[in-house]
Symmetry: C2
Amino acid sequence: MLDQSTICAISTSPGVGAIAVIRLSGEKAIEIADAVFRSPVKGKILNRQEANTLHFGQVISGNEIIDEVVVSLFKAPHSFTGEDIVEISCHGSVFIQQRILELLIEKGARMAQPGEFTQRAFLNGKMDLSQAEAVADVIASSNAASHRLAINQMRGGFSNEIKKLRDEMLHFTAMVELELDFSEEEVEFANRTELKKLTERIEILLRKLKDSFQLGNVIKNGIPVAIVGETNVGKSTLLNALLNEDKAIVSEIHGTTRDVIEDVVNIHGTAFRFFDTAGIRETNDHIENLGIERSYSKLDKAKVVLLVVDTQNPYSIVQGRIDKIRERVNDQLLIFVANKIDTGLKETIQELKRSVLNKNEKLVFIAAKDKENLDELIDHMVHAVNLDAASQEDIIVTNARHFEILKNAHGAIRRVLNGLDSGITGDFLAQDIRECMHYLGEITGEISTHEVLGHIFKNFCIGK
Amino acid sequence: MLDQSTICAISTSPGVGAIAVIRLSGEKAIEIADAVFRSPVKGKILNRQEANTLHFGQVISGNEIIDEVVVSLFKAPHSFTGEDIVEISCHGSVFIQQRILELLIEKGARMAQPGEFTQRAFLNGKMDLSQAEAVADVIASSNAASHRLAINQMRGGFSNEIKKLRDEMLHFTAMVELELDFSEEEVEFANRTELKKLTERIEILLRKLKDSFQLGNVIKNGIPVAIVGETNVGKSTLLNALLNEDKAIVSEIHGTTRDVIEDVVNIHGTAFRFFDTAGIRETNDHIENLGIERSYSKLDKAKVVLLVVDTQNPYSIVQGRIDKIRERVNDQLLIFVANKIDTGLKETIQELKRSVLNKNEKLVFIAAKDKENLDELIDHMVHAVNLDAASQEDIIVTNARHFEILKNAHGAIRRVLNGLDSGITGDFLAQDIRECMHYLGEITGEISTHEVLGHIFKNFCIGK
């Protein structure tokens, strides 16, 4: 399975930079590097240098000097891929990067496939499959929360969780399979009550992991926040204030925002995905009605709902809106955003202040136009997420492949539970347990096919 | 003048890549790196490690792991800047790059200005000013020829030439200034005939350098090649064939190409800058006439002129075009490109083959549409340039600042020559020589102002 060829690629971002790094990995990495490298120290060759050292010199092609470079030397197995690695740090001209790459290929290396360095790290046992997958997530992470999850997964947090689960199941299997050896004698080594307790524990663990995907996905892609409310109460203005730019069209005309505008903004290291929605009001405009329907449909997908109300309206109207939205909101955080307090009705504001909030409800007074009191609103939103994120100390699943596998594993363990309830024989139990363990092995890569690996690594960038 | 602060910047190309490199240079570089770095080896700190070594570990902020990284350690004075340098090779997520940069700044580094690492290399005597300038040219070089010039300049080839010139002048000055010391006595230590010979030698050297700028500029920006000829003879088709893409609009309608289309293409490592020009014919179309005028005006700027003629026309017409273009072309290489030989008139082709070529003229038969015989055309073009490039073993000036200074230096040495002819006194001679030496010092940076440095390095990228 292991490809012994020496691979090379530009590992830094494509384009011109001050410096660029070209990576070379494989049995002949150092030999190939020596074929293009000339040290100012006469007779010095990389092959005789110690691991983890840096060497200044030139990359040459015959007598032509391609560049002055610094070479990093890593030796197997103490490298990222577990193979010998040479990294050439050259001037960041695209021309030079290409020339050096051509030279290395001329001397016997071949271009690396996307993710091939990481794939080799996996195949050489430097990391398991879920860790390898996390490398791509680390590179793609664009906010603190998703970055934290990816780093945790890359460092093996998720794998440890899976290993714990498999250990539990191994214990389980041992007991059941012992029974099978003596099946003629109809003994029960595995106490069914104990077995059931253990199965229930495993089922809970698997369910927790599986269910964490929703949160994981949300953290990765941004907490969905719906901004709803009557037309012209300042929803778009609020969105713009939060985004700090003028993405949504703001106007005085009722019903300006027809489309659901989405934007992701990082606040205190967490990504929020805002949905500005069409104003909710009775209208005969067909297109606008469609927009309003979309508003409501988005509500269910939101984790936080901001109901914006205009304090310039009489309290009865505002109260009506609040009651209406309460009907539509389930267990999301519902924040009543009382807008335009600089020009609002005293009575409305006072009544609002007296209103009784349910659990999961917050009330904030702002003036979106002047960005007044936005901090309090942001605090509520971040706080709501942090409550969820308390579970971040547990493992959160962010990878769709893992989620699919966990669903399958959970299905298998559910069958075990049902089997125990209906008193099926040990061999059926054992089969479901083995299936469950098989699935978990697919996550860590203990069980993997060429096809699965190809699918995983093709989405990596070249050079990683 | 030396700024003692520790500077940091992302040195690799901006954007997402497999890895990115963050560079830290200055007295506190290692100390600051230690404040964010945690080694898996307990108690290991970078400050106690040897120079030119690599270290795996984590970048941390408190208990939070920002990334797993490899740190390169360089120690003053044996580094690019001549200061302690730490390079952090991290995962290429923009988020991670930013976080690490923020952390380094939090721990006492400051963001580097554009080119500040190279500026420090200059200020610390690691390279002279013309070498520092070449670093930017190396990074910007996009073809073999400009790359070769930039590498040569970065490695000190140009500086050596300037130093040789200054040595010659020093000898000169010594002789003349000795006279000044004895000016009362009206002796001439410096033999005027010898002085004149020396001055003439210096003048020739300076002129050669100054004149090389045109070629240098051409190599840097591409050899200008004008494609001219009647309408519909296949100029645009030829350009497309050379460019290997469909940039110019090709059609059967006479006069399709009205604008002068420019494109740079690398052929055998040399950049050629092609100008497709409006077809030259009598026309009443005002806009097209403007285009034709531009065609002619571009001729003078070309180093190579390709006159495309259609062999489908009778020889008398073709001969007329050739005579007409001969009038307009001076000492450029003029290549007659006899196109459409697959459908051309036998008689025209035969007569063309019999025609007598002047020095600086070539004749090629092609079928542009089928890309037939393009290689021969390309060979002629490359050969023409290589004749010029024979002088590439000499030093070629590519930098506009150097060119301006060399013009001034040359002016000063010309005044010395005139002074010698008109027999002016030694003190006037000495003044002009000193001026000339002053200029040359500006090239190497022995004489430099804060303003000049600012101007030079502001065009660098950050991180270099």
